[in-house]
Structure formats: structure tokens, C-alpha cells
Symmetry: C2
DNA sequence: AATATTTGAATTAACGTTAATCTTGACATA
DNA sequence: TATGTCAAGATTAACGTTAATTCAAATATT
């Protein structure tokens, strides 16, 4: 039989309530009793039942974290940031993967609500044209979208300035004289793609140039996608002198293709990634990229969520973290 | 006010119990009643309280997952495997990070027990000389160690044949004639280091050669460690013609150092990693490495755990997944 | 017609905890 | 002495479920 408060109460002769209060360090208990009960609890290997406790005490100290892909190094950095702050604040994480499906995402949110999470941090699968607006708007607990947003719910997001980031990439490339820039963009249903495309367009606009749609690829974002896209461009005889990538992983594939086609980076082609994943500085040549504060993104998301949990009337507002273009060896500028 | 079974009972005129049975699709309910109650539940936006339910029904359908480092791509692949099988079996994951500390690990296990997890999958921080043997041996729920083991609890582990894997690396290198092999090994407190070192030694033994301890480095396993270790070897004038690494991440750092020192891979130095992370095939040159079935490791761990949960009398036994040396461009052999 | 079975549901008692309200005895105060 | 205060603890009633038991009416069986 499991040791419960009742067991300890019987063993010590005190009431269940007194035992409960001792173990919660509640007041109005003599020191003698407290020591006695605590030692008995220890002796019996008492493990508190957090679920039973949550029945009277609505604070479950649990949050739900839903990511697009647990194995993606971008998300895992973000999740580590969340975990760090959650740990500091005494929260536990229920975790799930939406597999880039809105249905799955909704299902997970419901499941987690059932477990009485006090809030959510979500990396939504679909942002642009999401069908989940109504669903989220009606959620009974606070929620923060990390790194992405859902149309109409922007104020629930912690973002990293995607538009500014991609704009700085294209400002650099266009100013350096490039006129044939391959742009390996991301999936169209996520907000980041939309914002970065916008940044790209603004940079072209600043230079009074119209972007050429033949140079823009919308890709899922895996290494093979980058590899194939560059192969395709080369095979079609599309001339280019620079490649801007939606993420470092695409850049990894792109560089592989360039290498196989005997194109030198950065002499023949300059390449710029996005995200600044750990490995990008160790690539050969090391990858110029836009640094996204992934760990901080997670940490801040949890900070904000905690704020809203403790303060249900607080208004939500978009947080936008700064990004920074980092020059390494895959560009001429250093 | 939250909608509970009571709310629905009042709204429909049936008893709480009847409502409960309808929503659990229990028997002995007329179809008419069932439809009525279900539609009312839907209408009122009823969200079942899984915690309250767990008070009577001991199946919480939750497991605890504790990893050494959430942001490490090796672990995140494993976790994805766990998540996939967990999802299939209807389990949710409570997740935490032991930060390579046994104290933190123990704390997390207790916390999760409090939440009534039905079992654990743990990537323990310390395996060799762990102080947690007694603690784990007394755990009241089944637990599986993924990818590592704790001395005396080997039967709770799903492993990948570390000894065989590293042995195959050294068999290749020694057979190819290398006699000065830098071995960038891992942290001494984890079982993988111990087993791979053993594999290395067996290969040397097969060739009747005594390994030279000046060539063996025990490192934490970050890219900088590999980078520094190779720099150090070069600066000390230690001659070498091959590098075997405890993981791909070390190899990444090692290759960077070789590159900076104008040593060609694989012509001057052959390099072999371990783990076969996604990016290793995209490195320049692509990295020869030992493939570890990371996703499968997680998936199998969850399969086994579920088995033990459903079958408490089942004996634990070590599972050892096969590994395979993959030749790419960082070795002469292809 | 008397009895047994079946169906559909209500009642009751938990699960382990916590919060609110009582109780008791010791001591202090006027 | 009568009354008040306080400390230390006990009692009771929840929280939202589920399982076991009970009940009443309808139907079937002899």
C-alpha cells in the first residue's frame, strides 16, 4: 500500500490535516510535532500525490509545451530556454509534437487542458490562414506562441524580428552588387516565411529592383530541399551569384550542391543562412547567418507566460526580439 | 464556472454517474440518453478533468522523460522516437533535463512520481559509479534507461552496441595501417565512454598493439573540445594520421582545427565520428561515422516501458541495438 | 399469475488532499 | 472568579471523478 497522509496520521496518532499542514510547513504546529511527523513521513517514504492536491489547490504548476518538431535543433534550443525558466519557477512541462498538423495541435491542447495545465507555450504549425483562431481565442488559460504568430493573435507571440532579419540579408547582398540571388524560402503556411519574404521584398524595393520570382523557392526546409533546389537552378541554367536561405539547414544542403558542382563559396557564390544553429559555425566554410536568440526566445516566452498566469488580467502584447546578421566565411564581407 | 459532470447532470436531469458512464462509453445506457448527454456535453464545452479521474483510475497515461540535455541533437532524436511511440499508445510525456547532475535527476524523478507517472525513460547523467543505484532499485514504477546504463541496473537499459561500434572504427583504422590515432573520447562518468573505450582497446589487442595513453583524451563532448584537443595535439607536435571521435560534434570541432592547420581530410588525416547526426552527411567533407539508431532507440525504449507497465511481473532485460560504421568522405575507404 | 431476468438508471462510497470551521486546554486579564 | 485570548490540533466538507451496489420498471420464463 502506498504511503499517504492517512498512513502517517495513523502511525503518529495525529489527524490527517495536521500531517498535511506539517508537510506543507503551515503555521500553528508545534515544533515537536513537526519534527515527529516529518521524520515519520521520511521513514515511510511518503510521496505526495500532486494530482490529489490539485483537486483542492488549482495550481498544478504544469504548463503545456507544443512544438512543431522535437528533433529540429532550432526548436530544441527554444525548448531548452523554456525548460530553464520553467525549472526556475517550479513548473513542469507536458510536451508534445504537432507534426506540423493543426488537427494534432488542437488535440494536444485539449489533452493538456484535461490535465489542468496552467498555460501553454506553442510553436504553432500553421500561422498564416490558421483555422485555429477561434479555438485559441476561446482558450481558458493563457498561451504564448514562440517564434511564430497566428493571424489575429499576434499579441500572444514572442517573435524574433523576421522581417528585419531577412531585410538585412538582402540589403547586404544587393549592396554588394548581387543581382541574381537565389532565395530558398520556407513553407508558406508559417508566419516566418511571410515576414522574411516581406523583408526580402522591402530590401529589393529600397534598391528599386523587382524580385524575380524564378529565383524564389518555397521549400519545406530540410537539407535535401536546399540541395535539390540548387541542383535544379544549376541544371536549368539559372545564373546566380548568391543564395539566401530560410534556415541554416537549407544552407547546409545548398552548400553541398555547390561543392559538388565545383562552385566556390564565397568566391563564386555567397551563401547566407538563417537561425545560427550551433553547427553553422563549424561548417566548411563557416556559414554567415542571421542569429536568432533561440534560447532567449524560450526563456522569455516562459517569463511572459508566468506573468500572465499570476496576473490573469494582464493584456497580451507582442514581444519582438532583435536579430543580427553574422558574417562568417560563406560571404565576402567578414 | 467550469463545466463538470455535475453541470451536465443538472442540465440533463440524469445523475452524475450516468453522465460519467455515457462519456466513457460504458455499457448499459440507452442510445437515446447517450446521444442527449453527449450533445449537452459538447454544447457546454465539457473538458474532462484527467486529474480527478486519476484519483479513482490509477492509469494516468503519463510517463516521465528525463534527458541529459534537451538541446543536444542526439537526445532530441531519441526523444522524438519516444514521443512517437508514446503518442501511438496514448501516453503523455512529462519532460525534464538533468543537466548532467545526479541531484537534479533524482529531484525530477521524485517530482514526476508525485504526478503519478506510470513509468520513466531516463538518459541518466552518471552511469559508471552512479550514486543512484539504491534510489533506482527502489523505484515503485518501471523505468528504462535509454542509450546508457547504470552499473548493476544494466537490465533496465536499451543500448546501442557501443563496444562493437568503436571496435569497428579502430579495426578499420588499424587495418588501414594507422598507428598514431588520436582518440577524442567522452566524459568518464557515462557508460558509453566506458564501453567505447573497451571496444577501442579490444581492437588494439586484436592487432597486438598497446594503445598509447598520450593519444587518448577524455572530453565533455562539445565542438570546442574537439577543436582544442586537435590544436593541442598539433602544438605539442604529437604526430597522428587519424582521429576517432566519441561523437560527431567533437568531429566537427576536430575538422575545423585540421582545416585551419592545412591538414587535408582524408588525405593527411582520416576522421571518424560517432552517432551519425543529420548534419554529418552535409559536412565538408562528409563525415564517416558510426550510425546509432537514435529514433529507434527512443521508440523501442517506449515499447519496452509500455510492456512493463502493462505487465508488472515481466523481468527486465538489456536490449542492445546494432550499430553500423558508415564510410563517407572523411575516410579513404568509401 | 408468480417468479426470474434484464435494462436503465440512481445512490453511495471512495480516491488523497486542502480549506474552513470547531474544540480543548492552558494561560492571561480584569 | 469569570471571562478572554491563544496555541495546537481535530473535524468536516469539499474538489471531480469512478466503481460497486442498489433500485424500479419492463420483459421473459415457468
Amino acid at each position: 500500500m502506498r504511503t499517504t497522509l492517512k498512513t502517517i496520521a495513523k502511525a503518529t496518532g495525529f489527524s490527517i490535516n495536521t500531517v498535511s499542514r506539517v508537510l506543507r510547513n503551515d503555521t500553528r504546529i508545534s515544533n515537536e510535532t513537526s519534527v515527529l511527523i516529518k521524520s515519520k513521513a521520511e521513514e515511510l517514504g511518503y510521496i505526495p500525490d500532486a494530482l490529489a492536491s490539485s483537486m483542492r489547490n488549482p495550481r498544478t504548476k504544469t504548463i503545456g509545451v507544443i512544438s512543431a518538431d522535437l528533433s529540429n535543433p532550432f526548436f530544441s534550443e527554444v525548448i531548452k530556454g523554456i525548460e530553464e525558466k520553467a525549472e526556475e519557477s517550479g513548473y513542469q512541462m507536458l510536451m508534445g509534437n504537432n507534426e506540423e498538423s493543426e488537427e494534432k495541435e488542437k488535440h494536444l491542447v485539449k489533452l493538456f487542458l484535461s490535465r489542468k495545465v496552467e498555460g501553454f507555450i506553442i510553436m504553432p504549425s500553421h500561422g498564416k490562414g490558421s483555422s485555429l483562431y477561434d479555438f485559441y481565442a476561446a482558450l481558458p488559460v493563457p498561451y504564448i506562441f514562440a517564434g511564430r504568430y497566428i493571424d489575429g493573435l499576434e499579441n500572444h507571440s514572442v517573435l524574433h524580428n523576421d522581417e528585419e532579419g531577412e531585410k538585412s540579408v538582402f540589403e547586404y547582398l544587393l549592396s554588394a552588387g548581387h543581382r541574381n540571388i537565389l532565395y530558398l524560402s520556407g513553407p508558406e503556411h508559417i508566419s516566418n516565411t511571410f515576414d522574411r519574404d516581406m523583408g526580402m521584398r522591402k530590401a529589393y524595393e529600397n534598391h528599386s529592383i523587382a524580385p524575380d520570382s524564378r529565383y524564389i523557392f518555397h521549400l519545406p526546409g530540410h537539407p535535401e530541399d536546399g540541395y535539390q533546389a540548387v541542383n535544379t537552378a544549376i541544371n536549368k541554367g539559372l545564373p546566380f551569384t548568391a543564395i539566401a536561405c530560410f534556415n541554416d539547414i537549407l544552407a547546409m544542403g545548398a552548400m553541398k550542391s555547390l561543392q559538388e558542382n565545383d562552385l566556390s563559396v564565397p568566391r563564386d557564390v555567397e551563401v547566407i543562412g538563417y537561425d545560427n544553429l550551433l553547427f553553422s559555425q563549424f561548417m566548411q566554410p563557416s556559414l554567415s547567418t542571421v542569429d536568432v536568440p533561440k534560447h532567449r526566445l524560450g526563456y522569455v516566452a516562459m517569463e511572459i507566460l508566468e506573468n500572465h498566469i499570476n496576473n490573469p488580467d494582464l493584456d497580451f502584447r507582442t514581444e519582438n526580439l532583435p536579430v543580427r546578421l553574422i558574417f562568417r566565411d560563406s560571404t565576402q564581407e567578414r
